[in-house]
């Protein structure tokens, strides 16, 4: 009897998933082909609910994250008249790509606690290294990382870019720029009410170099000697071949 009571209490304590998010992507594979110029991904979905929606406002957040990498951020200073990298700070892991799209400004719809749990805002997606050097402005380096990558289109904050219709259907577009790296990109979709995440959906985008590019990269890193010979062969073949061809044409 007591066991049953505990079980009942546990079930009651479980959140009632009154609203669920279902989402899809226009493509789950991106191929970095020879003429790759960037790729536009459409993220769309719907909110499924059993009961009537709550009175409070419903929001949707879409976050796409590229494979994380360690990074070193350098700061230049003038030394003997020229600008030289002088200070450096390491970052344990920073996403190579990060885009957050929302229905309304992120700060207005998500509580800082929920942001911390789910690591949604760009600043929280970056894991700083515990630096042994005491620096007076450690934040400046992380801010610079975000600023530079925002300028390159690698980090995107797109407040208000998600369209939500009748609290049910939503969609947004996110551009993967031409300078993205290979790997598995995660796409997370959050339903938010009263500053809290009420449901989450995750899917993946596989970004891969196309056959020839893949083959060349693998050769360069796995068989660098053969790759070097290939580079030399191409140079000799074209360099000598072209002048031989021109000689033939002329005679």
């Amino acid at each position: 009897m007591r066991v049953l009571l505990v079980l009942m209490l546990c079930l009651a304590a479980l959140p009632l998933r009154a609203e669920e998010v279902i989402a899809g992507l226009s493509q789950n594979r991106v191929s970095l082909t020879v003429n790759f110029e960037g790729s536009d991904i459409l993220i769309y979905g719907a909110v499924r609910r059993e009961t009537a929606p709550a009175e409070t406002e419903l929001d949707v957040i879409v976050a796409i994250e590229g494979p994380p990498q360690p990074a070193v951020i350098w700061r230049k200073a003038r030394r003997a008249g020229i600008w030289v990298n002088t200070d450096a700070q390491e970052v344990r892991a920073a996403p190579s790509f990060y885009a957050v799209a929302t229905t309304r400004p992120l700060g207005d719809i998500l509580s800082p606690e929920a942001d911390l749990t789910h690591r949604i805002s760009t600043r929280l997606a970056i894991f700083e290294a515990r630096s042994t050097v005491d620096r007076d402005d450690p934040a400046a380096f992380t801010e610079a990382l975000i600023r530079i990558r925002e300028n390159e289109g690698l980090y995107q904050s797109r407040d208000g870019d998600v369209t939500l219709e009748q609290d049910t259907l939503f969609n947004t577009r996110i551009l993967l720029p031409k300078n993205i790296v290979e790997g598995t990109y995660s796409a997370r979709i959050f339903l938010v009410r009263d500053g809290d995440v009420i449901d989450e959906f995750e899917t993946f985008i596989d970004v891969r170099k196309a056959v020839l590019e893949r083959w060349l990269t693998n050769l360069a890193y796995d068989q660098p000697f053969l790759y070097g010979l290939l580079a030399l062969f191409l140079a000799v073949f074209f360099g000598w071949g072209a002048s031989a061809a021109f000689r033939l044409v002329r005679s």
Partner: protein, 306 residues
């Protein structure tokens, strides 16, 4: 049309690449210069990471000099003995250069080192070329002006370990050619150039080689040192991008063929001034980037990427 470069991991415009290769090829055909010292900085300007630009530039040097060295070998205008000594020096220099390059890359200073070397060398070459061609024009206006003595004996010729270089008609110590070759090897590894612009004057004025074997012998050394340096960059840095090289070479060989024909028809001395000014302009642009307060003080490096 954009082309994705698998090693640089970015896209650049295919026509820009063909234009860079073709334009530099045209100049090299017209003036008989290698052009590596223009290709590499032009690649920086279009956004190719400096390590990739240097390694791929040196690969392109192989393509642009191979047919020249074959022609000279056939005509027997290569001092093979001198070429071999220069080459041994070059290989040693290349190893030193690659070691230094990789060290600077780990320290995050490679971009600066490459840019500084370009400012210094382009500045010197540009100024010398400008002075040389202005003097040539003055001389052609005033044919009675005294000519410079080409070959004089200096302390360099009195060093030990003398060796006979029959094709050049020289009996000199092996150290000067070894050191000259080494310097060229270092430049090839750090700057992604052939180094002919340093080698040719050094062979004429320092070693006192006769002009008829200078071009062939320097091409011989440059081709092999560039090939070796390409291999070293490919093995230690994985920074040679064959996709990038293919476009540069394609543009370069066509440009060079056209340039050779144009060069035969045009007045070389006036054009040489233009080439000198172009070299100085590239030098000025790189110097400006180093001296002017950058709009972004921070840069990001990702270990294992360029």
């Amino acid at each position: 049309m954009q082309i994705y470069l698998p090693i640089a991991e970015t896209s650049v415009n295919a026509f820009t690449l063909l234009g860079v290769g073709g334009g530099v090829g045209l100049l090299s055909g017209m003036f008989g210069v290698g052009g590596g010292f223009l290709i590499t900085p032009l690649l920086f300007f279009i956004g190719v990471p400096p390590p990739v630009a240097v390694a791929t530039g040196v690969n392109q040097v192989v393509a642009s000099s191979i047919s020249g060295v074959l022609a000279h070998l056939k005509r027997k205008t290569v001092d093979l003995r001198m070429g071999t000594v220069l080459l041994i020096g070059g290989l040693i220099g290349s190893i030193i250069g690659i070691w230094f390059f990789n060290l600077m890359q780990r320290l995050g200073q490679i971009d600066l080192i490459v840019q500084l070397s370009y400012v210094i060398f382009l500045g010197i070459i540009g100024a010398l070329m400008l002075q040389e061609s202005l003097r040539a024009i003055l001389r052609s206006r005033n044919p009675n002006a005294p000519r410079r003595k080409l070959h004089s004996h200096t302390w360099i010729h009195n060093l030990p370990f003398k060796m006979k270089f029959r094709a050049s008609g020289l009996y000199i110590s092996v150290f000067p050619p070894l050191l000259v070759g080494m310097g060229v090897g270092i430049l090839a590894a750090i700057m992604g150039v052939g180094g002919g612009f340093v080698l040719v004057p050094a062979m004429i004025y320092l070693l006192g080689m006769p002009t008829k074997v200078v071009i062939g012998t320097s091409l011989f050394q440059v081709t092999f040192v560039a090939a070796f340096t390409t291999m070293m960059h490919a093995i230690t840095n994985q920074s040679v991008d064959v996709m990038l090289a293919a476009f540069l070479i394609l543009g370069g060989v066509i440009g060079a063929q056209l340039g050779t024909r144009i060069g035969l028809k045009l007045q070389a001395e006036q054009l040489r001034i233009l080439l000198a000014l172009l070299v100085l302009a590239v030098c000025g642009k790189i110097a400006f980037d180093l001296l002017w307060t950058p709009s972004e003080l921070y840069t990001i490096t990702v270990p294992g990427r360029f």
